[in-house]
């Protein structure tokens, strides 16, 4: 947060600076460049604002929701009112409190899976491309096999054996099944770099493989890594909630998927308690959309051909 004013000050003066920093350009121009890109792309703005709201909710749920999300102490199946903004469940829980407090687990799963599977994908994808030979063949085979085994059925089978998967188990299972797609992309990118001059130079200097991979290759793939994080986070939100919805998560956890599980078990739709089903679904949608929108915007920023055509912008300016 404290960084914000600094980078906006730098903002206007960045264009001439951009050309100057080499591959290891300072953090401030890069940050302000991202901020500028986020502000200029409407999809990115909407996505980022949504994500920030969810992060704040996950960090400080108690500030706006004072009720205990697990307590079954209120009147059952009440409609929305001043005391219960979104009403109560058939079990006597406050829906608003559940929705707000549920943000935390979903976000932990999303961010955890996003980071971990990006890390695994990077190590495996880049190592495969850089090492080549039989190591590449083996890692590539592993990636391909995992890529074609249908994910959701596999997740269901694993979660069934685990029984009542909590946060950590969900993160582990979703990560182990989800990294292969990004590993594939990262390998392709790293392959295209393999014979570039700056890598050749590093090799001639006598740098070790580890140094070359960490310092020379990975920083050139930042945008792919961001995309990988966002894709995997979205995947984790959707599939994690789905597993919880069909009752394979921990039924006592406070999260949107679990809310939907209890709503379905108590026939919320058939008994008129629509909000019990609508609210968690809308939240999953909004969080998922924020990841998807940021990802799509990054795509547009990276690939100018996909940007909305300029004609439009000129019209709006007039």
């Amino acid at each position: 947060m404290a960084m914000m004013p600094v980078s906006t000050e730098v903002g206007p003066s960045t264009p001439p600076v951009i050309a100057a920093p080499g591959p290891r350009g300072g953090a401030r121009p890069a940050l302000s460049r991202i901020l500028r890109a986020v502000r200029s792309n409407r999809k990115a703005t909407v996505g980022t604002v949504l994500l920030v709201i969810f992060i704040l909710l996950a960090l400080f749920p108690g500030v706006i929701a004072h009720d205990n999300p697990s307590a079954e102490i209120y009147g059952r199946s009440l409609g929305p009112s001043g005391t219960h903004l979104l009403g109560t469940t058939a079990l006597g829980q406050d829906i608003f409190a559940q929705a707000v407090w549920g943000t935390r687990q979903v976000l932990i799963i999303a961010i955890g899976v996003g980071l971990l599977s990006t890390a695994i994908a990077t190590v495996i994808g880049v190592a495969a491309a850089y090492l080549g030979g039989w190591a590449d063949g083996l890692l590539n085979l592993l990636t391909d096999v995992l890529l074609v085994i249908p994910l959701f059925p596999l997740l269901i089978v694993i979660a069934t054996y685990v029984q009542n998967a909590g946060t950590v188990v969900l993160v582990v299972v979703l990560t182990l099944t989800g990294w292969s797609y990004t590993a594939r992309q990262l390998r392709a990118q790293a392959l295209s770099l393999r014979n570039r001059d700056f890598l050749e130079a590093a090799r001639v200097r006598g740098e070790r493989s580890f140094y070359i991979i960490m310092v020379e290759i990975i920083p050139t793939m930042t945008s792919l890594l961001v995309a990988s994080f966002l894709t995997n986070a979205l995947y984790a939100v959707l599939f994690g909630s789905s597993l919880q919805f069909i009752g394979l998560g921990d039924p006592n956890s406070v999260s949107w998927g679990t809310m939907l599980y209890w709503a379905e078990n108590n026939e919320a739709l058939q008994t008129g308690q629509y909000l019990w089903t609508i609210v968690p679904g809308v939240l999953i949608l909004l969080l998922g959309a924020s990841f998807a929108l940021i990802n799509y915007a990054f795509d547009e920023i990276g690939n100018p051909a996909l940007r909305p055509v300029r004609r439009q912008r000129v019209k709006r300016a007039r």
Binding site: P153, I156, Y161, L269, G281, I284, F291, A292, Y296
Partner: protein
């Protein structure tokens, strides 16, 4: 030829990996969950079926893991999936055969529809760059891609079944109807398929539109398009024969693959609508700890995907000479 042989080898290897996962997963879990399941069923299941189960889940501890593994491989390769515990005394194979037509009908038709519609919309959106369709659709589909399948199903039930009462909210046909190939029964089945099909269509169409649009945008920048324009060809012809025809390859490959996902692709939609297909069966097996049925369904779904990928590979090799050159 070498390319196809290599893909065939990959097919067999992945199949083996899936079977092996099936075998080792229950054994890797703390306390072997299958033991608890078997204890429950010891009464009603006949001894020979129980024996097969014990082999499949590693209950016979006096056998070494390796010999268990090979007798399991033997059982699978001869199609012995055992007896379903939930639908006892029906065999797993029988239960699955009953479920397959429902899934093929519902998901198969919807997949084809989504592909045709989505590709068409993608072509037009890219052609009229900056038009209404092009500026509204991509962001919309980015958002629909973030909606859980099952929740769309729930919302459709809420609106069209609970509120408006237009369509039934569960089952493949009326409980009172007797399955037969008569007009009224078929009508009844179609009636029940409308909402699940709509849920699938809404969630899957976006990918086709976005992929087609994005490839088409790239294709439209090619020199041969400019050449076609310069020649004064009718724009319809440029759009379909020049641009779309070249841009459709990624979508076609995706389509071939998605046909494989038909079998297992609609698990949650089938679950929400109690639609008697493969996915619903899988979750029934999960909820009732019917592990033999669950394992067999997982294998079936995997095999379907693998076969589709193999077909897609062969088709690409036949139609795209570049692949053959690389292989």
């Amino acid at each position: 030829m070498r390319f196809i042989l290599r893909r065939l080898g990959f097919f067999l290897l992945t199949l083996w990996a899936a079977v092996t996962l099936n075998f080792f997963l229950p054994r890797l879990m703390p306390g072997n969950p299958a033991l608890a399941m078997l204890g429950k069923f010891r009464g009603p299941v006949n001894p020979s079926a129980l024996k097969a189960l014990e082999v499949a889940f590693g209950v016979k501890t006096h056998q070494s893991l390796i010999s268990q593994y090979f007798s399991y491989l033997g059982n699978i390769s001869t199609g012995k999936f055992g007896t379903s515990l939930y639908f006892y005394p029906e065999s797993v194979g029988r239960v699955i055969l009953d479920a397959i037509p429902w899934t093929l009908g519902l998901v198969g038709v919807t997949t084809i529809l989504a592909f045709v519609l989505g590709t068409g919309v993608g072509i037009v959106a890219a052609w009229r760059r900056g038009g209404v369709m092009d500026s509204i659709l991509p962001p919309t589909f980015v958002i629909t891609s973030a909606i859980p399948y099952f929740w769309i199903g729930l919302m459709l039930i809420l609106i069209f079944s609970e509120k408006l009462g237009w369509f039934p909210s569960s089952n493949g046909y009326d409980v009172t109807a007797i399955p037969s190939f008569t007009g009224p029964f078929i009508e009844n089945v179609l009636w029940h398929a409308v909402l699940p099909a709509a849920a699938l269509l809404i969630t899957t169409i976006g990918t086709w539109v976005l992929t087609m649009r994005n490839t088409m945008v790239t294709t439209l920048a090619e020199d041969y398009i400019r050449m076609a324009r310069a020649k004064g060809l009718p724009s319809r012809r440029i759009m379909l024969d020049y641009a779309a025809r070249n841009a459709i390859l990624p979508n076609l490959t995706g389509f071939a693959m998605s046909l494989g996902f038909v079998v297992g692709g609609a698990i949650l939609v089938e679950y929400v609508f109690n639609y008697p297909g493969v996915g619903f069966m899988l979750l029934q097996a999960v909820n009732n700890e019917d592990y033999p049925l669950m394992q067999a369904l997982f294998l079936l779904i995997t095999v379907a995907v693998l076969v589709a990928i193999l077909m897609a590979d062969i088709a690409t090799a036949v139609f795209d000479p570049r692949t053959r050159a690389r292989g």
